[in-house]
């Protein structure tokens, strides 16, 4: 696993041209809504206004709420479990040479497998419940964190480690002043990816089989040809995904640039982006 293997941020928000003016963004949103309005019809997918009404109805009358809660709970549990496992595996891979050489490439390759295909195996083992959903979400969430942490730990400067040793730093100080500054940014990015992947994977799994969840609601509406409801749920999920991506992105941006300034651009790796795919 070289530095180029790290799973980095998307381009465009740090170094790429970030010149989208409010005007351009407004034109773009208007264009999207206009196209949506023009190509929509009641048999295929609902126009924006109808979608908004159905969505508001679902939120106020509450038929969407149990599904929303179920999806968000599963996502949160997957994220927490995935983070815990990801940190342990990442630390093992980053600090132990054998693990890095033998298990590292395997991890990167396993990351390229569609995790959703493991869902039926989990379903057969655990049954249709939140446990199997969360297990799958955990598997999806742990990868980006483990890979980013492992790669970041390999890039910790040996000079810094030597300096720390010659100052007789204790393990806590070494962790705090040598390791933490190097792994902070990759960890943050890994955390965000872990959350997004948990969310996506949980919803995809719910589309396949689940008792509750936005994915189930979306796919049931499709199966019953309740087009307005399906469009509304798709819109809601997309909005959620957008917010989940945009909000930490803003915060991260400030954190990276407004922080101690230790960030040295290592993440500007060749693989400049990472989509959210199951």
């Amino acid at each position: 696993m070289s530095a180029a293997r790290m799973i980095p941020v998307w381009p465009g928000w740090r170094r790429g041209p970030r010149t989208t003016s409010l005007l351009d963004a407004g034109i773009l949103i208007t264009a999207i809504l206009l196209i949506w309005q023009l190509i929509s019809n009641d048999e295929l997918f609902s126009p924006p206004a109808v979608t908004l009404i159905v969505l508001v109805d679902g939120l106020t009358r509450g038929w969407v709420l149990p599904h929303l809660t179920a999806t968000l709970t599963s996502t949160l549990l997957s994220f927490l479990a995935g983070t815990a496992i990801g940190v342990v595996v990442g630390a093992l891979l980053g600090l132990n040479r054998w693990c890095q050489q033998v298990l590292g490439p395997t991890l990167v390759w396993l990351y390229a497998i569609p995790k959703i295909v493991l869902y039926p195996i989990l379903l057969i083992m655990m049954g249709v419940n939140q446990q199997s959903l969360v297990t799958l979400g955990t598997i999806a969430a742990f990868f980006p964190l483990a890979i980013n942490l492992a790669v970041a730990l390999r890039t910790v400067s040996t000079t810094h480690l030597k300096v720390a040793r010659s100052f007789d730093a204790n393990p806590w100080q070494v962790a705090r002043h040598v390791y933490l500054p190097t792994i902070r940014v990759p960890m943050l990015i890994g955390l965000r990816l872990a959350w997004s992947l948990a969310f996506l994977t949980v919803i995809m799994a719910e589309m396949v089989v689940a008792n509750f969840g936005l994915g189930k609601l979306m796919f049931d509406s499709y199966a019953n040809l309740n087009i307005a409801r399906m469009t509304a749920v798709v819109a809601l999920v997309f909005l959620l995904a957008f917010l989940m991506n945009a909000l930490p992105g803003l915060w991260e941006h400030r954190f990276v640039h407004g922080g101690s300034g230790r960030y040295d651009g290592r993440l500007e790796a060749v693989e400049a982006a990472q989509p959210i795919i199951g």
């Binding site: 998307w10 381009p11 465009g12 928000w13 790429g16 041209p17 970030r18 010149t19 989208t20 003016s21 351009d24 773009l28 048999e43 295929l44 997918f45 050489q101 033998v102 490439p105 395997t106 390759w109 390229a112 497998i113 569609p114 959703i116 295909v117 493991l118 869902y119 039926p120 195996i121 379903l123 057969i124 997004s196 996506l200 919803i203 995809m204 589309m207 396949v208 979306m218 796919f219 509406s221 499709y222 040809l225 087009i227 399906m230 469009t231 798709v234 999920v237 997309f238 995904a241 957008f242 991506n245 060749v270 693989e271 400049a272 982006a273 990472q274 989509p275 959210i276 795919i277 199951g278």
Partner: protein, 255 residues
């Protein structure tokens, strides 16, 4: 497959150790006392793999999946490269579209799958369309960056030799941008493959993902495991082949 370490002892290579670990796991799965209605014997799974391959059932599913991946990747690469050139040529457009592309990239396109299913029905079409959308962005973004990184001096030299537009693109920009652009194509291939299999799995008309789903629904675990193994093999082969190509390309260009 082995090389001596610092002390002169022969140490098996990483690949050999990986194979050994895999074999060990398979042996445990084969001999341990596990609930066989959820974890079938590896030998049964292997047996089904052989018989399904011999009867051509497996071949048809693999062919459909590979065709979906291939077509999507081809179209996505073509559109992505064209888009990259446009983005590179028109800075205003780049300013507007690049952040949009980046956020499309970060959005799970699979959520549009039900919408497309309504429009196109349960056919390979919605799968290919969404896979193309997923695949375009890494190619476009990486190639646009790559074109921006091509040394201005090279372009100046091309101009002072009165290179035609065609020569400029073919002889200067393409080789200059190739390594990074290929990284985009490799990433695109991985994402396209994941999306195709995942969508086949959710609902499809055929392919390895669909087969896995079908055998899950009928609780035939041996067949299910066999198809999961095939999916893992397909993604591994794709990943390994493209990583190798990328390495060769980098080597070629850096000479």
């Amino acid at each position: 497959m082995s090389r001596p370490d610092a002390r002169g002892f022969a140490r098996p290579s990483a690949a050999l150790q990986q194979v050994a670990i895999l074999l060990g796991l398979l042996l445990i799965l084969q001999w341990a006392d596990l609930p066989r209605n959820s974890i079938p014997l590896p030998s049964d799974t292997l047996g089904y793999l052989v018989s399904a391959t011999a009867s051509g059932v497996m071949g048809r599913a693999v062919f459909l999946t590979l065709a979906e991946i291939g077509i999507s990747l081809l179209v996505a690469t073509g559109v992505g490269l064209a888009l990259a050139v446009v983005l590179w040529k028109v800075p205003r457009l780049r300013g507007t579209l690049q952040p949009l592309l980046a956020s499309v990239y970060a959005m799970p396109m699979v959520f549009f799958y039900p919408l497309l299913l309504v429009i196109f029905g349960i056919t390979p079409t919605p799968i290919v369309i969404l896979a193309i959308v997923v695949g375009i962005t890494p190619v476009a973004l990486n190639t646009a960056t790559a074109l921006g990184n091509v040394s201005a001096a090279w372009i100046k030299v091309a101009h002072s030799f009165r290179a035609s537009t065609w020569q400029l693109y073919w002889k200067v920009l393409l080789p200059g941008a190739a390594p990074l652009a290929f990284t985009g194509i490799r990433l695109s291939a991985t994402y396209v493959a994941i999306s195709v299999v995942a969508m086949e799995f959710i609902t499809g008309s055929g392919g390895v993902g669909y087969q896995a789903r079908y055998f899950y629904s009928s609780f035939r675990v041996v067949e299910l495991y066999a198809y999961v193994v095939v999916i893992v093999l397909i993604t591994w082969l794709l990943h390994a082949a493209l990583t190798r190509c990328e390495g060769l390309l980098r080597h070629e260009v850096s000479r």
